[in-house]
């Protein structure tokens, strides 16, 4: 074991791991964080806490992660390179680790254009891959990125994102290989709707033996409506929603679409768990956390292992 991370322990045990997601609120609303987190307790091994997702200001990932720790949940502390330079990011990593946060996700972040602060400076002192290198150096070499020694270095279990569906597709296995080279321990993928394409990507991943060097968690997002399916298909960059899925959602009455979305989600997990190299699931039920227990139970992923 590289760390004390519960997520690492579950993944290392060979059981399929499950993570959820908690998007912090746009205000000083601790109860919102706690309510979302409480819905996930017992159904996931760890909870991603997003960092100003969609480039909108929210309660910091660090602060919200701390609430989760206080509830004895295990946050996956997300960090984007968009908003802070390497000094700020490293100080937050030490700070988070001091509070028992030992799992993180290194991301570049959505462009400010998509948020409500399009006028903000776009920092990107490091890119996501260089952040992985930095966190690994802090852990394994006990050094800051600048080279100086760290007293009691933070031992973070290091995650990153992988998008098998973005272009150029032929580069996407290499992109993962490069993150592995930089030192990533696990990846969570973009929401998977096109399972055929995901399988093709996984074939490439296995050919290079990458699935034995990094834990791959398949990303799942239940769709609430046919409208959401169409939006994801047409408006979200790097998302691949096949026409059949949109049609299937549109083919049931409006009041049944949410249930159809959950069914699709459970069926996807059934199919994805058969793929060699899939180590778990990252369930991103956006503003729909109350559905996570049902999905986890129906997918046969409950109870969660005690590690």
């Amino acid at each position: 074991m590289k760390t004390e991370s519960v997520l690492e322990k579950v993944l290392a045990s060979g059981e399929l791991a499950v993570t959820g997601e908690c998007g912090p609120p746009r205000g000083a609303l601790p109860d919102v964080v706690k309510e979302k987190a409480a819905l996930l307790k017992g159904y996931v091994d760890a909870v991603n806490v997003t960092d100003n997702q969609t480039a909108m200001v929210r309660m910091s990932s660090f602060a919200a992660s701390l609430f989760l720790r206080q509830m004895d949940l295990h946050p996956v502390f997300q960090m984007v390179t968009r908003d802070r330079n390497r000094l700020a990011m490293q100080s937050d990593i030490i700070g988070a680790y001091s509070h028992g946060i030992n799992t993180m996700l290194c991301l570049s972040g959505d462009h400010p254009k998509f948020g409500d602060h399009a006028m903000a400076a776009n920092v990107h002192d490091l890119d996501s891959l260089q952040l992985i290198q930095t966190v690994r150096g802090m852990r394994d070499e006990g050094c800051f990125q600048g080279g100086a020694e760290i007293k009691n270095p933070p031992k973070m279990f290091i995650g990153a994102a992988a998008n098998p569906f973005a272009d150029p597709f032929e580069l996407r296995v290499s992109r993962l290989a490069k993150k592995v080279k930089a030192g990533v321990d696990f990846v969570q993928t973009q929401c998977i709707y096109n399972i055929d394409k995901f399988e093709t990507w996984m074939e490439g991943v296995r050919e290079r033996g990458l699935h034995e060097q990094v834990y791959i968690m398949a990303g799942i997002t239940p769709m609430k409506s046919a409208g959401m399916a169409r939006y994801m298909k047409n408006k979200v960059p790097g998302m691949d929603v096949p026409d059949e899925l949109v049609k299937r959602m549109a083919g049931v009455p409006k009041d049944k679409q949410a249930q159809e979305g959950i069914d699709i989600c459970v069926e996807s997990i059934e199919r994805l768990r058969q793929i060699e190299g899939v180590s778990g699931f990252h369930i991103m039920a956006i503003e729909w956390e109350e559905k996570v227990p049902e999905i986890v139970k129906r997918a046969g992923l409950h109870p969660r292992p005690k590690v």
Binding site: R82, H111, N122, D167, L171, K178, K181
Partner: protein
Amino acid sequence: MITAERKPLDEILESIDGCSRILLVGCNECVTVCAAGGRKEVALLASALQMASMKKGQALDVREITLERQCDPEYIEELTPHIDQVDAVVSMACGCGVQEVARRFKKTFVYPAVNTKFMGASEGPGIWAERCQGCGDCLLGLTGGICPIARCAKRLMNGPCGGSTNGKCEISDEVDCAWHLIWERMKELGIEDRYEDVISAKDWRTGRGSGPRKILRGDLQ
């Protein structure tokens, strides 16, 4: 070249409010090539300013001059005979030219008539696009001759983000994904394997990280 775009007329008029004589100074270098502040644009702006002033019932005397290079002290001297006869200088050069005029003539107001944009190249008639951010430590040799610092919206140095779609950047269909271009070029050069060479965290001291920069060439001093 350094690219620029002319400021809106109203903004320029506002900056020279109260002036009755101005010296409008163009530059024969980059801003001429990108059609923002050369001799022709000086003439057009001079007419526009005079007409706008006449409409307000004010007289504005505009002297026009276009220097060979406004970022070079040698050429700036050509302005000397005019300086005492005007209330202000309006410069159509990039920010470097405006500052050189201000440095030489300490008691004269200098106003910019263009917004300096970026270091770029022409992609066709009337189109200029950013190519370089002057980071001071060129990595084009590693990235197939396409700069991810200037041309990736997230300045990613190790590959495309998850938003790259059909060769375009997630921010706009009008913007090419730099890493898509880099990958295509690597394929053409037969160096795809180099994609996986990790480019480590950049030392920004060669760029703006170290504060305002200077080049000192002892052999030329």
